[in-house]
Amino acid sequence: MILLHTTGRILRQLRHDRRTVAMLVAVPTLLLTLLYFMYDSQPGVFDHIALIMLGVFPFIIMFLITSIAMLRERTTGTLERLLTTPLRKTDLLFGYGLAFGVAAAVQAGFATALAYLLLDLDTAGAAGYVVLIAVANAVLGMALGLLASAFAKTEFQAVQFMPVLAVPQLLLCGLFVPRELMAGWLQAISDVLPLTYAVEALQEVGAHAEPTGTMWRDFGIVAGAVVVALVAAAGTLRRRTP
């Protein structure tokens, strides 16, 4: 019950911030539209890039929002207060997971609908799987954001963890250079970054009509990375501080 109340509280905070809600929905759709016109003359390229972007936007945006939200909990003293109440650490972490999962589903729903209906995105697999993977990515971004916030003392530091944790994953996930063409050591790094698997899963949806074993395996790896990040984040929540 405390978990659901915490989810509700986080969503209510989000709801009071109308501009953030508007941007959550509008920014990915605007960027996708931009991509559509950029690749207007190169058929097929938009399909490839837009599909990956549908998974990457929620990852980056939820990472940023969560790391700031959690940093606020720490700096305003609400975290310390929450930890003096009967709330369990998992109530808080999964509360964030559920709340931002819901927000991500709305965001991915809009972006995917736009991409398929107006921008003629074409994939062999169903759009529902794209939304599913996008939400998993959002939750991954959220979990990494929760973890990163523990190492930031200020908002300035928190936002800079985005380039530290998210950009290398983006560069090495196969979007810019196909993984097969990377140097061996870069591939090895790419192999241990969760976003690599999220992108591969999306590419599987793009290429196959039915969900493949590789897609489900990749989905499982992303989910596993979420659990690892949440457990690590739980370790950073201290009831006693110096």
Binding site: R9, H16, T76, G77, P86, R239, R240, T241
Partner: protein
Amino acid sequence: MTSAIEVADLVVHRGARPVLHGLSCTIPEGSVTGLLGPSGSGKTTLMRAIVGVQVVRSGTVTVLGRPAGDAKLRKEIGYLTQAPSVYADLTVRENARYFAALYGLGQSEADAAVRDVGLAEAASQLVGNLSGGQRSRASLACAIVSKPKVLILDEPTVGQDPVLRDELWAQFRELAQRGSTLVVSSHVMDEANRCDRLLLIREGALIADDTPAAVKASAGTDDLDQAFLTLIRRQGGGVPAPRATGEASEVPS
């Protein structure tokens, strides 16, 4: 009278600096205890140790027969931090309802707490839009919403006008009459007179632990301010000078 809180030989260091050195005291159940002392004397640190959020070096703190910070105590203890710790992007009512929900309580209890701190009119305003005094009362509502057996209030009346202060103290008294144990830190001496007992702290050590009347009697004055100064001088410390670390040392890092 049984004791609700027992502190024995408590030593706390924050960073390299010793904040409390071997402090011991006993706080009786159903009482209002005032915690007084200059900035940086260790009031907040002692309160944090009682709540169980402070890493302590040695000594013990026992609350309702359990070690401070014990999981079973989390339902029984309410803590108001010095800086208001509520969500600025929620309304007063939403804050109170969320904290009520953490204790398994419903909306009626939450709304009652909002009324009790005199924020009924402002209940649907965002906390971020409130004045400093209102914000700290919103935070207080979230601390008293569960009617906890032990209530630790760090400067609950700072920035409140005299009428509100009077009303808040009437409520603290009522909570104590219902059996709650309150520890209230304050800088205002006329509030100290309303307490059942006073703990005077200076530089991390207890210099008085008695009723307000007895503190005044032992200092040979009718004025608590004066009594405090007399007791400090008697300790051989002279009037406490503001230290370099000053206010900052009181804010939990």
